[in-house]
Amino acid sequence: MATAPAVDQMPAESATETEEERAGREQFERLISEDSRIEPRDWMPEAYRKTLARQISQHAHSEIIGMQPEANWISRAPSLKRKAILMAKVQDEAGHGLYLYSAAETLGTPRDKMTEDLIAGKARYSSIFNYPAVTWADMGAIGWLVDGAAIANQVPLCRASYGPYGRAMVRICKEESFHQRQGFEILLELANGTPAQKEMAQDAVNRWYAPSLMMFGPPDDDSPNSKQSMAWNIKRFSNDELRSRFVGMMVEQVKVLGLTLPDDQIRFDEDTQQWEHAPLDWNEFKEVLAGRGPCNAQRMERRREAHEDGAWVREAAAAYADKRATAAQQKAA
């Protein structure tokens, strides 16, 4: 799940550009203007590389941290069917993280470095995962709203100008639609259940609505770097455009659920052809992003613990591979 990336300013063209760099830059500019794709071994501006490495690794970290709120509910899911579905979903999130780490690695950042940065608290991940999942209905709201927002964000990223990122997104988007549907189904069943169950579903929607809208990133007038990302064909639509489109979809879907969105200012603006919604609390967004959300410390602690607890498995696997390789060498000698 991607939050809007911050983008470095493109450096001024160096006066000492070599012939090779000039040819590389011209090819890069031509490929971008033709809406073609950039592949790992192509020349690319340093700022383009850095922007992508940061965006894709943040996206990967989000998938990995995103396993936590749902993994917490596997043992408490109300039926064997729901446990199996939740396990499949959490496994998908791990897979999505790995696809994205692979894509990020093609830009030259080693995998282990990305893991280290996450564990050291140097890397960011989507602020949404720093909110707690307190009831079973949250599994529904996360699937419907959070994965829904992620899909709205990710579908255009399938056409991102960087080939490996686009290919990873295609794979991810195919798998995400199950995530959103299973969430919707959880909410639908609760909404048609007892009054207490319906209330639980409504409460979850109330809590996840605003954070999911903030997943699209800051408003356009507070997102100066989006412009560069759009010029590079990484981003295809602005944060506000995607958010508005998402609100328009949710406002219809919530009717099927028989629930309401906690926003009395939703309306379709005929002039701008955009869906409008109530103002969001961007201070809260900044606080959560800065590490002061309800669950930041817990998520980081859990990730660190998992990494450390798994160290012996990684070491054993490497030692076994070494032993086998040595034995094979001796046999050959």
């Binding site: 192509d42 897979g95 690695e105 030259g108 995998r111 798998e175 990684r314 490497a318 030692a319 591979a321």
Partner: protein, 115 residues
């Protein structure tokens, strides 16, 4: 970068046993999936694994969670040799201008059936 590794990982073999914190990263493997009998293996993506056996198992978990495949290949990324990306102009020049290698070049037979 060496070979076909698109990652900057040189995919070198695991080193002699060393202190765990000094270990080299697990090598990179490229994964190819045959989606059904009668079709070729197609590149699906890459992954890290300590050895070939683990690479195949990880590839199954990562790239075939939904029956996407009936067969897998894993290849050390360092074993793949690629054409030089900087020389692709010259390298792929030969077919340029040779439209007569395509059936669509021959238009005089338009309208002739079964040709």
């Amino acid at each position: 970068m060496t070979g076909g590794s698109t990652t900057g990982d040189d995919g070198s073999a695991a080193p002699a046993p060393a202190a765990p914190e000094k270990r080299q990263p697990w090598p990179l493997w490229e994964v190819f999936v045959r989606s059904s009998r009668g079709l070729s293996h197609v590149h699906a993506g890459s992954l890290h694994a300590p050895d070939a056996e683990m690479a195949v198992r990880n590839a199954r978990d990562l790239y075939t969670r939904r029956n996407e495949g009936v067969s897998l290949w894993v290849v050390p990324a360092s074993s793949i040799i690629t054409s030089d990306p900087d020389a692709k102009g010259q390298f792929f020049e030969s077919p340029q201008g040779k439209d007569y290698r395509h059936a669509t070049y021959y238009t005089k037979s338009d309208g002739v059936k079964h040709l």
